[in-house]
């Protein structure tokens, strides 16, 4: 129910299996940070403050993927206490790079990494937040784009619909006037199947897109994969099938479309 007196929206920031990089993007909004802090009440954000107010929250930013049963219970509580839930980053939106374990024997990873595997209690999978609770908005990327984060927070504070493009990164690349690295240099680029939002960060510095923003709407991974394997003399990138798989099985290995395309190569 609407609150009778105007008050600042209450913001909470949550972490699951992740590296903290996306939360840090918020702290990285140097110029705007004070304005954001002034416009919202930070109710829970361990990375930045000691605030641990119990909720309810107007906006919850959720970073990280679900890898333990305990996390799953915690997530459900957060969802119940949050009006709007926004997932931030590749881990939260697709399961992250750690979702590679979903495609392998997770036990092997545990034994390889931990001195005392017996103490580790973990699920066999790393899954996105949306697999478990309804999500209102998704911010893609590894890490997320600062500008997009501010855009979404601003829109939510103003009671406006955020605008998050779902088209391919190529659109932003062409707007930026970048010379296509795939056509002009034979660099493997996932831009044509990757959602825009980063402003073509990698092609701008001469690298192919790594696909960290995950699948774009309407994408055609099969045609791109075939092209990546075409020789450079014919406009392709000359990848072999393992290299093609690694391109798709990276930050968004578990994202629908990327997962299957990677699996087709190996």
């Amino acid at each position: 129910m609407a609150t009778p007196t105007p008050r600042r929206p209450r913001l909470a920031v949550w972490k699951f299996a992740s590296c903290d990089g996306c939360q840090l993007s918020l702290l990285d909004c140097e110029d705007e940070l004070l304005a954001v802090a002034g416009a919202v009440e930070i109710a829970y954000f361990l990375e930045a403050t000691r605030a641990t107010a119990p909720g309810p929250y107007d906006v919850s930013l959720v970073e990280g993927s679900i890898t333990t049963a305990h996390d799953l219970r915690r997530l459900k509580t957060i969802r119940r206490r949050s009006k709007v839930l926004v997932t931030i980053g590749a881990c939260a939106t697709s399961g992250g790079i750690q979702a590679l374990k979903s495609m392998a024997d997770a036990g092997d990873y545990v034994r390889a990494v931990y001195a005392h595997p017996a103490f580790i209690r973990t699920l066999d999978t790393s899954t996105p937040i949306a697999d478990h609770v309804p999500v209102d908005y998704e911010l893609r990327g590894c890490p997320i784009d600062r500008g997009q984060l501010l855009h979404v927070l601003t829109a939510l504070i103003q009671g406006r619909q955020p605008r998050l493009p779902n088209y391919a990164a190529c659109v932003e690349c062409k707007r930026a006037g970048v010379v296509c690295v795939m056509v002009a240099k034979g660099e493997p680029c996932l831009g044509p199947v990757t959602q825009a939002g980063c402003g073509a960060l990698c092609p701008r510095v001469g690298r192919g897109c790594y696909g960290c923003f995950g699948p774009a709407e309407g994408m055609n991974t099969a045609a791109l994969a075939a092209h990546l394997q075409t020789s450079r003399d014919h406009g392709g990138a000359g990848l072999d099938s393992a290299e093609t798989r690694h391109r798709f099985h990276l930050f968004n290995a578990n994202a629908p479309g990327f997962r299957e395309e990677g699996q087709r190569h190996g």
């Binding site: 705007e32 304005a35 954001v36 416009a39 501010l150 855009h151 927070l153 601003t154 829109a155 504070i157 103003q158 406006r160 605008r163 493009p165 779902n166 088209y167 391919a168 190529c170 659109v171 062409k174 707007r175 930026a176 006037g177 970048v178 010379v179 296509c180 795939m182 056509v183 002009a184 240099k185 680029c189 831009g191 044509p192 199947v193 001469g206 699948p215 774009a216 709407e217 309407g218 994408m219 055609n220 991974t221 099969a222 045609a223 791109l224 092209h227 014919h234 406009g235 629908p256 479309g257 299957e260 395309e261």
Partner: protein, 424 residues
């Protein structure tokens, strides 16, 4: 300055003149001295691109581009030519119809009196529109296909008589001086000859038209004026009337460039597309196309844009920005309830049908000038000329095996391609 030849430029005889000394350097100097930003071809990140030029050495001397479907490479040889390249990576649309432009800013509670460029715009006193006076510019070394593209864009964005008018475009365009240059070395992707837009510069649409000829180990330039401003520009640089031999060399060069072109659209693509709305080939394109939008964004005449609003955190200002868009995005045809063109096949059909058919109905010309950019820069090398050729084949569109109408472009569910990604 001025060599004082009576028959120069556009005032008297319209015949070409031969520029003396380094004519290109002289022209650039005059333009820059007149306070113009000179924009032209230069090498950047492995391609010829259009950027502001500071000096003649910024031009791509000795560079030659190799363009194929989905492939672009540059080669350098010790040659004097500066214009031995085909269409640069992006066209002049970037300058005149920028990829991102502020349309205006609204202020809650009225405009701040200090706001620069504040304009009592259509929405009253709280609206500030940007860039009332764009810089004076000269477009240098405009390829014939791009000259044709400028005229197509003018008909769409600066055509008040037809009711199409983008004031910002018109302002930028009005004060721009155009120095065009014949193409002597078309790329394999060029098909301007068939479109009637090149490879020689035609009779209009430019202020000055240049022809670059190689004499021994030097590049020399013939020039024609196409407007009073162009004539005045030529008056300001040293020249003499071109000799018959020089004129013949220019004509020969254009004939050779025409013959060198291997691609062409089939005759009457308009009729082909009109017959092809249900062609089975759309599904074939859909299997190859990535829906990345590159073809539309690289095309010098595609003009579609979207308008997006953003507010400041405190809600005091709202900025409205126009950004290039593409009919290959889902949002482009999104209406209440979903996208009209949900599939890649439907989107490819929209693009090619608009360019080569509906454009005539709308604007009285072809939307394609044959620059080949969509062919070269398509990441997977989809070739508009080959697609039209395939669409001209009158195979039965779909075998009708049952009472149900077959999908024409992969748009309905029955025949899902196995390589299609799951519906997002």
């Amino acid at each position: 300055m001025g060599a004082g030849q009576p028959n120069s430029g556009g005032s008297g005889e319209p015949g070409p003149v031969r520029l003396l000394g380094d004519g290109v350097a002289a022209l650039m100097a005059v333009l820059r001295a007149a306070g113009r930003e000179v924009i032209g071809p230069t090498v950047r990140d492995g391609a010829i691109v259009l950027r502001p030029l500071k000096r003649p050495d910024d031009l791509p001397r000795g560079w030659h581009d190799r363009q194929e479907a989905g492939l672009y490479r540059l080669d350098w040889e010790d040659r004097p030519t500066r214009f031995a390249h085909a269409a640069p990576a992006q066209g002049w649309k970037r300058v005149l119809h920028p990829p991102e432009a502020c349309v205006g800013t609204a202020y809650r509670g009225g405009i701040a009196s200090s706001a620069e460029g504040a304009d009592a715009g259509p929405d009253g006193p709280c609206w500030a529109a940007p860039e009332a006076s764009p810089p004076l510019r000269a477009f240098f070394g405009v390829r014939p296909c791009d000259l044709a593209a400028l005229s197509v864009l003018d008909g769409i964005l600066a055509n008040p008589a037809a009711g199409y008018h983008d004031p910002a475009y018109a302002r930028r365009r009005r004060d721009t001086l155009v120095v065009a240059a014949d193409c002597a070395s078309p790329a394999a992707t060029c098909f301007c000859a068939g479109m009637g837009t090149g490879p020689g510069v035609g009779d209009s649409g430019f202020d000055v038209a240049l022809t670059e000829l190689v004499e021994g180990d030097a590049a020399v330039y013939l020039a024609r004026a196409g407007s009073p401003a162009g004539a005045a520009l030529l008056e300001a640089v040293e020249h003499r009337p071109a000799s018959d031999a020089e004129r013949a060399a220019a004509t020969d060069q254009t004939v050779r460039a025409t013959k060198a072109q291997t691609r062409a659209l089939p005759a009457d693509p308009r009729a082909i597309l009109a017959r092809a709305t249900e062609h089975r080939h759309w599904a074939d394109v859909a299997a190859r196309c990535l829906a990345c939008g590159t073809c539309t964004l690289a095309c010098p005449t595609c003009f579609c844009a979207t308008v997006e609003d953003a507010t400041s955190l405190d809600g005091v200002t709202a900025a409205r920005t126009r950004r290039w868009s593409s009919c290959f995005t889902e949002a482009f045809s999104y209406i209440h309830g979903g996208a009209v063109r949900g599939t890649r096949g439907a989107r490819y059909r929209q693009w090619i049908t608009h360019k080569l058919s509906a454009w005539y109905d709308q604007f009285g010309t072809s939307g394609c000038v044959g620059c080949g950019r969509c062919v070269t820069w398509c990441p997977v090398g989809i070739d508009i000329t080959a697609e039209v050729a395939a669409l001209s084949e009158t195979r039965p569109s779909h075998r009708r095996r049952g009472p149900a109408r077959r999908p024409v472009d992969g748009s309905a569910t029955p025949r899902r391609r196995k390589d299609d990604p799951p519906a997002p």
